[in-house]
């Protein structure tokens, strides 16, 4: 009923084409997370799904119906704006209930929904305040509340938790997941928080400059990034990228590593880039290579070790509590089966 089907969508601001012929199918009940660098067009995409900006080309179907030109309110969506866009003259309670009142929902039902959302968002004591009297995080929660009470078929969330503390964010993340399960609505969710992306998404869409780079489950996107951009974009600390050249036999590289590349995918002399996640760099005494520690970042439950092997700098994540100091030389190894291999020219994944 409320899947979203986008075909050939193009959006321009003046001469600047921000979304470029984008195709995207969102299944009903799916939790889709949009990821991408700042300014890549995520908010623009959400706004166009909501019908808040005119599209320059393409079509948007919601629940099987062509909604390209439909009114925002017709589309059965709830939305959290990145900039909140709260109604300044209304109290928190009025802000949340406005849409329902407009739709003529019975009073008791409005009250029930508003109270439920307020409770979940810990806004109950603030229901009588105006937006100007709220902290940043509180405003953001009101914006979430305003969307939630609509119990719509499609929810569009634009970085809804960005201004909340980690604890509250974790709680709300769980609540949203629960809500998604009970309501069964479709969610399209923009976030920069990879934990959110990983825990919430049934699928992740990675965008860059208005073009989709990869669509897949969190594990797929993280473990088998489709190109260099996706590989580099996901994961903190970032994936280690090592430029190499294929040896004559086509499967060993620089003499030291041998890779399982599908036959014919690489030829001798080709420039490749290897992607190694920091957590796949294992500091072990019998490692095949050695490197010098440059910097150690303690992160509470793990440490990030920045090292250099020859010219190549890279990072590793260490989970045991052992003391590592800068300047030390350590042996390390990597698991070839977990490597990502990219063509240096096309930047596409090869394995």
């Amino acid at each position: 009923m409320s899947g979203v089907n986008i075909q050939g969508l193009s959006i321009k601001f003046g001469a600047n084409e921000v979304i470029k012929g984008l195709d995207l199918q969102v299944q009903e009940g799916e939790f889709l997370v949009l990821l991408g660098p700042s300014g890549c067009g995520k908010s623009t995409l959400l706004h166009s799904i909501a019908g808040l900006i005119d599209v320059s080309g393409g079509s948007i179907h919601i629940g099987g119906q062509d909604m390209t030109d439909a009114e925002p309110s017709e589309r059965g969506i709830g939305m959290v704006f990145q900039s909140y866009a709260l109604y300044p003259t209304m109290t928190v309670e009025k802000n949340m209930s406005f849409g329902l009142r407009v739709a003529g929902t019975p009073k008791a039902e409005i009250e029930r929904r508003v109270n439920k959302a307020a409770q979940m968002l810990q806004l109950t004591p603030l229901l009588g305040r105006k937006p100007a009297q709220l902290s940043g995080g509180q405003r953001q929660r009101v914006a979430i509340g305003r969307a939630l009470v609509r119990e719509a078929g499609v929810f569009l969330f634009d970085e809804p938790l960005s201004n909340l503390d980690a604890k509250l964010r974790a709680e709300l993340r769980r609540e949203l997941k629960l809500l998604h399960q009970t309501l069964g609505s479709t969610m399209i969710y923009v976030t920069h928080d990879q934990v959110e992306a990983m825990t919430l998404a049934s699928r992740i869409v990675v965008m860059k400059s208005g073009v989709i780079q990869q669509i897949g489950t969190p594990a797929e996107v993280y473990e088998t990034p489709a190109n260099l951009f996706v590989a580099g974009f996901l994961g903190a600390p970032a994936i280690n990228l090592v430029p190499v050249t294929v040896a004559a036999d086509g499967v060993t590289v620089n003499g030291a590593l041998s890779l399982q590349l599908a036959a014919g995918r690489a030829k001798a002399g080709q420039q490749l880039v290897l992607g190694v996640r920091p957590e796949h760099v294992r500091l072990q005494a019998d490692g095949r290579w050695r490197a010098t520690v440059e910097l150690v970042e303690p992160m509470g439950n793990h440490q990030v070790v920045w090292m250099k092997a020859g010219e190549q700098g890279f990072s590793a994540v260490v989970h045991d509590g052992r003391r590592i100091t800068a300047g030390e030389t350590l042996a390390f190894d990597i698991d070839e089966s977990l490597l990502s291999v990219f063509d240096a020219a096309s930047e596409l994944r090869l394995n």
Binding site: H47, A50, G51, L52, E71, P72, S73, I77, G78, M79, F81, Q82, S83, Y84, A85, L86, Y87, P88, T89, M90, F98, G99, R101, V102, A103, K130, P131, A132, Q133, L134, G136, R139, R146, R150
Partner: protein
């Protein structure tokens, strides 16, 4: 620290000095009006306009309110008071409401071609209204509302339209567009958004519009005279009869008293409206 405090103090002194100076400039004519209204004509003829009255007499006020003759009737400016109220209420409410609706439709919905409508309307604001009186008389006579309450309200509506529309259109154009977006997602249709979201945010402009419209309608007499019909003559007709004589004797003290009395209603509105001039209507709305 103390230097800062002292500069702040000087800034404060400067602010008050400016305001007081300005107030003096603005109040000087009122002072002259007030003192004149308490003088006798003998004293006024001496031409000492800044002098305080040698003895205060309320005769002029009494006469202006309830005794002054204009033509056969001698009831001062009091006579048309309720007529003025009857004319003012619809002639203030309707144009403001319509102006707000127009401004909202023009700035947020922008239906195709509406900018032309607005353009012509704004051009219309530059025609001296007196030129339009005759055709409007003909028009109203044709549709049968000439010389009646609806007739005068309609005329006020016509003449108020450019400014009221402009006022609201530009005000709404300055509000964050995000609010409109949010409201549209919330499912507000044209009227819902207007009534529940836009109107409450318009308080300062509603006040300004009310100030303008009340003043305009209340002080109008040429339109009231021409369009309202005999039964509905506003009190300004009497006021103008009192003060606008050329060839009869002129009683300045009465003129001043009558003018102040007639302005009482708009003045009261100004005073009361103050508390709606609050700060930061749109603040905290969007990030």
């Amino acid at each position: 620290m103390s230097k800062r405090k002292s500069t702040a103090l000087w800034a404060r002194v400067g602010v008050y000095a400016f305001l007081l100076f300005a107030a003096a400039f603005f109040l000087l004519p009122l002072y002259v009006m007030l003192t004149t209204s308490f003088k006798t004509m003998e004293e006024i003829r001496l031409g000492q306009i800044f002098a305080l009255p040698s003895s205060i007499t309320f005769d002029a006020w009494r006469a202006a309110w309830s005794e002054a003759c204009t033509g056969v009737s001698c009831e001062g400016v009091r006579g048309g008071f309720w007529n003025s109220v009857t004319i003012a209420v619809p002639s203030v409410v309707l144009p403001i409401l319509l102006g707000a609706i127009n401004g909202y439709a023009l700035s947020w919905w922008k239906p195709k071609g509406s900018q032309w409508l607005f353009g012509i309307l704004m051009l219309g604001a530059f025609i001296p209204i007196q030129v339009m009186i005759y055709p409007l008389v003909k028009l109203e006579a044709a549709i049968g509302i000439y010389s009646s309450l609806p007739g005068i309200v309609f005329v006020h509506l016509v003449f108020a339209m450019p400014i009221m529309t402009l006022l609201f259109r530009n005000y709404y154009a300055g509000l964050p567009a995000e609010l409109f977006k949010a409201a549209r997602v919330d499912g507000g249709g044209f009227w819902r958004i207007f009534i529940q979201l836009v109107l409450p945010m318009s308080t300062p402009m509603l006040i300004v519009a009310a100030i303008m419209q009340i003043t305009g309608v209340w002080n109008d007499y040429i339109l009231g005279l021409t369009f309202a019909g005999r039964e509905n003559q506003p009190m300004t007709v009497q006021l103008n009869n009192v003060i606008n004589t050329t060839t009869g004797e002129r009683l300045y003290n009465l003129n001043m008293a009558a003018t102040i009395l007639t302005s009482a209603v708009p003045l009261l509105v100004y005073l009361i409206s103050g508390r709606w001039f609050v700060r930061g209507i749109a603040a905290g709305a969007v990030k």
